[in-house]
Symmetry: C2
Subunit: 266 residues, 2 copies
């Protein structure tokens, strides 16, 4: 990574990604600014997908939807070109991952619609600021991703289970995390479950489908589960659309929005 990039400035980070100087995951970049999951699909599916997201907002909080064929997302930042501003893209054809790419200029179609979702990377920053989850971070654990047995509300071809992210928290931190994230419905809001993984279909808490490192729940902690943006990606995959494109895991769109701008009053 080029050390001359001011990594706390979202515009500079996007510029560096656009120019290929940043090619890795975006966690930790531009702290305090909202990062987005991205899903791009052909126009004919956009209405159903928008409705699907609306009905499953905890998992799929849409922060912005583009005009048809327009690579801009002006409400997130005035310089975004979604064809170049992610450091890695996953391309799915008929539900199968067929390519991972650093830009999608050659694939772009005037028929495409982009959806941007608030991501829990954003509220993790907030939790860290408030000292929530120090224990698991200090022992080198990270949030982990699990499939659940909770059905989403289906719309057209879009359906599937809710995917969750889990953080192991002390009881006091769990309470604080619920209080804090409740104020940010645009980045998944409050947890959807706490304490009893088997009740949401998680048989083995030590076997997440995805985790940056390991994730252990200590005996004085509680597993706390938030709905996760992977839900929408899974629904799009399972719809087996001829073509859809998402951010590659952990390679998010860095926006100019900060947490304060999406905070909701109780």
């Amino acid at each position: 990574m080029n050390q001359s990039v001011p990594l706390d400035n979202p515009r500079a980070v996007r510029q560096a990604i656009r120019e290929g100087r940043i090619a890795g995951p975006t966690n930790g970049l531009a702290p305090g600014f909202i990062q987005c999951n991205i899903l791009i699909l052909p126009h004919q599916y956009a209405d159903d997908f928008a409705r699907y997201c609306e009905l499953n907002r905890r998992a799929c909080p849409v922060l912005a939807q583009s005009q048809v064929g327009d690579p801009a997302l002006p409400t997130l930042a005035d310089d975004i070109d979604i064809r170049t501003d992610l450091s890695a893209y996953s391309v799915f054809e008929h539900g199968q991952l067929t390519q991972t790419k650093h830009d999608i200029k050659d694939l772009w179609d005037d028929d495409f619609v982009t959806f941007a979702f608030g991501c829990s990377f954003s509220f993790e920053e907030l939790l860290v600021q408030e000292g929530v989850g120090q224990a698991y971070l200090e022992r080198g654990d990270s949030a982990a991703i699990y499939y659940t047995n909770i059905d989403t509300e289906a719309v057209g071809p879009f359906a599937g289970k809710i995917v969750v992210s889990m953080r192991p928290l002390t009881p006091a931190d769990a309470i604080k995390a619920i209080q804090l994230t409740t104020q940010y419905p645009d980045v998944h809001g409050a947890p959807i479950h706490i304490g009893h993984p088997h009740l949401i279909g998680i048989v083995d808490i030590n076997s997440p489908v995805q985790s940056l490192t390991q994730t252990r729940v200590m005996k004085d902690e509680l597993p706390v589960f938030w709905a996760c943006g992977v839900t929408s990606q899974l629904a799009a995959e399972q719809a087996r659309l001829p073509l859809c494109i998402s951010h590659a895991s952990a390679h998010m769109l860095v926006t100019d929005l900060n947490l304060e701008q999406v905070k909701k009053q109780a």
Copy 2:
């Protein structure tokens, strides 16, 4: 109980208590209106006690403090006479319960100061309205009281452990209960613990120090613990004051304040 008392009207309830027509516990009376724990003590201890409550506000949220010798509490209702408006009083001498009385007109002293605390009876009404805790209520369980190993901040003669009330809730209800009660710091606010009773010194969850009925935590539930007004009473008892007077358990002061009036914005 005289059936002609309009039990949803706080003023009528106080009047009936004052006249001896209601002599029992006040839970369920004047729903939606704040009920208060009461502690009355000699003026010389009032400053220390006020400071103690301030430092331990989760357990001891003072809603009103009287003028010295004045039996009125005008911010809670304009007709209150604290000498007659509780259905039962506990009288403590040097830390020992010596009498239970229906009024304290004969004990009243111009030296007395009254403290009124928001009580969790008030937020239970709110939880019921929002459908939180239906499961334990429907099986006939009730909130239970426990001592913890958490020290309060001591001031002068006032010290002791935090006392908690516990409600067994499903994970979804536990999250909702945290969100709701966070908005009401004047009636104990958010829980102080969830899920691991042994961490706060509760060895046997099936042995509360006090419960109206039984209280079981089912295997798909979590025990959720709120700081409890009994904390201040315990501190006053343990201070072994020559004289102090409290409401008798579950015989609270019914006020004209409603929950909406003590709601705080996040």
